[in-house]
Symmetry: C2
Subunit: 576 residues, 2 copies
């Protein structure tokens, strides 16, 4: 028999904007109440946004979060939702430090709260820096269903609060999350939740943040899984969404335990809630998208939110006619609309004819703003006065382009986009203060081989819909070149990108050593050369603009290498 | 009666360079042995350098560290130091993860090892990300003295391994450290060590790293304190140094405990060691320098090591005639010698006459390389082609200068120095890709008021020695201006720097909120304006070059704020 209607509110908070986030929580609760939900669950730190980073250490911000929570409870009551059970993540602070907390709000007040127990401190997470771990279980019983509250990492680590809840006695776990997107992560999340649901013999409702925050993008993809591994509902990725799931009274509930060693237990029994939706809600099961569609969604969402949340309305970029800038421009069109995209072709004396025509072709297919600013005069001014040749002359071209874009940004308020990809960034094939100029680098974390896949996927998906494919085929097919000297090609000094990306995947994403990579079948001299380039480029990468993270390990806060670093793994070259 | 001669080897390791660090450890051990030392103690992670950051997560690097440790033991024996007890920090790794470890080497092998127990995860430290905590005490007895080994944070936190050693029974603690410099830290360290020595009733020998590593600079200042709070010896700051201290047999040793709950104990009793220096060593007590001298030493060391450890031999910078670039140039002269410093005066149409004459005067006083490259033609090229005015025209001047410096760097291999100070960086008064250009920003963490203090101190210390003061008096005395438009002065849009720095100190270094700062007596409108500027500049600061950290909280890994951030503390302005 149906006991409860549950709503998972997958919302897009703005870090720090307590007023806007509160208003959104009220709005989504009203919507959920209208749909008959008794329990509305919001993501981890939905009230403050995630991650707040060092704001967590500012007492005035923690106090403001706690105050905003109290005001939220009042606002929910005033909005006519006082009879709904609202579970919301926020920042708390007590004598032991700041807390990554979840509050259960009902009848205009906080009835119980839970502090996250397992604090991830790896990859992009620094929670041991910010939060004190909790040791109290919060169990809310309503209509005969005992709901336990956990936060994100709590279900990833063995032990901790999940088995403690099972011992204490719960019929369902509500798990609040801020789990960033990366390729393949969606399936890993469902798999870990299924395992825990089976272990504790109770369903798990998993609600995730959606939206971009600096280099992170959260994909949502909230879901509910049963103890038998079945999926009771699943939200789409990259959009705000309300997932409605009806929950039955437990057939044979585990009894309550009087105590659980190492934990205190806060049990709250609420008055019976009316179940208004007597007809069982149809399970909503969003389709699972292809890798390219998921990554594209992440890149579009990451860029859109970075632009809008930072108060920009338009972007500018150099459109070279090559694949990277074309893909970045296509992402920008999908994120912001073509009228917000300002592309500049900046030919030099070394630019090929197709550079400009391919750029023009992209602009005419997509309707973005397009202008041509030749850089020959500017370059000549430096070359002549300073007598530049070689690398200095190559770099000055890229830098003149960067300055043109920044001047347009200063004049018209565009955010400049850097168009570099992960592969070239890894090996240092970018000019600092040149093509690395920009406030955001959309494909910073996309390996070159995936850039091509995305271009083909985006064109095909347009064609499938009967739309014009945005990216000129010759931008996809021509051999990549920086065009900083006559006849220059990327392959002059790099292996082909499939091989390069495979080596980078091992070295950068998986911390493999030189010997491991060579043992996997790659040529030792090629590996040593690439590793040398990666190690030498740490400084450039530190100064590169942030960009949306889509792989398992991105350059940025995710991978923190010393700049001054005498370690040369490939010194083992002699030993192979 | 003298039982042992102890040597604290305050050395300057290079992160990752296991071969060079091993060789240095052997060399300093030979020197200590020559001085009659029985026990030679090296700093925390002296073998790998500190901090190794994500290198700690690379299994191949941890394996190389362990292998290098074994080879070091052999090398020490071969160098005739097998009979010395050598304590050295290194990176270990086992099934639980990586370890911040200390090994005790004697007779060509590792006789016992200790894993750091307390792992700092705040400010610049991320050790919970990298290391598993240890729970084993390592006690080495020689000549009747029981030596316990701890690492850095172990003495900062109450509880942990220090009281466990006291219970187990030790006569002295050897504490290996990598404690970065900040103003006033030296005294705090001695005070915490004195407190712990008193608590456990045994002396503590504290050996610290010296030298620069990216944004960190380690000052050394190693010491030994007795249980009565007395100082038995103290090393100078910012130089490699061997501190020799003779240790008596304990008068009334605490008995050994059979066990200590929560800890395992590894006890090693070594054969008697010969005490060769029968005459007691004179206590060496380095003088404690003034704040300005300490900060200057940190800045010089930080720059020198960044330049040399990264393989550069010279630096280039724009010399504007103002105080900031003059101080940076003076630091560079002290760090690298005047022949390695290449200064460029880059006058624009808005530059005052004294800009160039003051720059020339600095160059003639110090003997650095000096050239003049007017930027008027370059600026005109952009202004004319792109029709620039206002902010875009101001910024293009700074950017043309940045490009000139980078072109010289590409041509001659100089490392470019950015000359911005902490105050202007905090409020966003710098041009990205303009005056922010450079590979290192020596005074990035020096507030403007301290920049003036340092200039006066440096000139006075030269005069006191009978040398020519390097910095022209008019560079110190003139009102600060960016000279990007006619008659522009910093005070047009900022309060005076003493007030600005006092507000920044509270907001940036101490995480105070708007209300707290206003309550301390500052004008609410001024505070709100400054906080708004700081919050708006997060993006620029992320792209700024690294620089030596000298205050309690620097922009960089020390302070990690979200870029996209809707929190506006000064929204409370209405409530005041």
């Amino acid at each position: 028999m149906q006991a409860l209607r549950l709503a998972l509110a997958q919302i897009n908070s703005v870090v720090g904007d307590l007023a806007a986030n509160s208003a959104a929580i009220v709005e989504w609760t009203v919507r959920a109440a209208h749909d008959g939900a008794n329990v509305v669950v919001f993501p981890e730190m939905a009230l403050t946004g995630y991650p707040v980073e060092d704001l967590a250490l500012r007492p005035s911000f923690a106090a403001a979060s706690v105050r905003a929570l109290t005001e939220l409870a009042t606002a929910l009551d005033k909005a006519g939702c006082g009879d709904r059970i609202v579970v919301v993540g926020y920042l708390d602070r007590d004598a032991e430090g700041s807390r990554n907390s979840a509050a259960v709000i009902v009848d205009g007040r906080v009835t119980t709260r839970y502090d996250k127990h397992s604090l991830p401190t790896y990859r992009v997470f620094d929670e041991a820096r910010y939060f004190a771990p909790g040791s109290c279980l919060s169990i809310v019983a309503v209509n005969g269903v005992r709901l336990g509250v956990v936060v994100c990492e709590d279900i990833w680590q063995p032990g901790g609060s999940v088995p403690a809840y099972a011992t204490a006695g719960v019929d369902m776990l509500l798990c609040l999350n801020a789990s960033p997107f990366e390729q393949g992560k969606d399936e890993v999340r469902r798999s870990i939740a299924r395992r825990r649901a089976t272990e504790i013999g109770a369903p798990i409702a998993y609600v995730n943040v959606v939206g971009g925050q600096d280099e992170l993008v959260f994909d949502g993809a909230s879901f509910v899984v049963g103890p038998d591994g079945s999926t009771w509902g699943r939200s789409p990725q990259f959009v705000e969404h309300l997932l409605i799931v009806d929950v039955d009274a437990p057939a044979a509930p585990h009894p309550d335990a009087a105590e659980v060693p190492g934990w205190t237990i806060d049990r709250v029994t609420l008055p019976d809630a009316a179940v208004t939706g007597w007809q069982r809600a149809e399970p909503y099961l969003a389709e699972i998208a292809s890798t390219e569609e998921q990554v594209w969604g992440a890149l579009v969402t990451g860029l859109r939110d970075y632009v809008h949340k930072n108060g920009f309305r338009s972007v500018a970029l150099g459109l070279s006619g090559g694949i990277d800038s074309a893909v970045v421009a296509a992402i920008a069109v999908d994120a912001l609309g073509s009228d917000a995209v300002h592309a500049v072709s900046m030919p030099s004396t070394y630019s090929s004819d197709h550079s400009r025509t391919d750029a023009e072709e992209f602009a005419s297919r997509t309707g973005i703003h397009f202008r041509v600013e030749p850089i020959a005069d500017m370059v000549a001014c430096y070359v002549d006065q300073l007598h530049l040749t070689g690398l200095a002359e190559e770099n000055i071209q890229a830098r003149c382009r960067g300055m043109v874009l920044m001047a347009l940004s200063n004049t018209s308020g565009h955010l400049v986009l850097a168009t570099g990809n992960k592969s070239e960034l890894a090996v240092g094939y970018s000019t600092i203060y040149g093509d690395a100029v920009g406030g955001f680098a959309p494909i910073k974390d996309v390996p070159k081989s995936l850039v091509w896949d995305l271009a083909r996927w985006r064109n095909k998906s347009a064609a499938d819909r009967g739309d014009i494919p945005p990216i000129p085929e010759s931008s996809i097919d021509k051999p990549p070149s920086a065009e900083l000297r006559p006849g220059q090609l990327d392959t002059d000094s790099l292996p082909d990108y499939d091989e390069l990306d495979a080596i980078l995947f091992r070295y950068v994403d998986h911390d493999q050593g030189f010997v491991d990579i060579v043992a996997a079948g790659f040529d030792a001299a090629v590996v040593a050369d690439i590793l040398r380039k990666v190690d030498a480029s740490e400084y450039k990468r530190r100064q590169y603009p942030i960009g949306t993270k889509v792989t398992s390990r991105a350059f940025g806060r995710d991978r923190r290498m010393p700049i001054t670093n005498g370690w040369r793994d490939y010194a083992a070259l002699d030993e192979v």
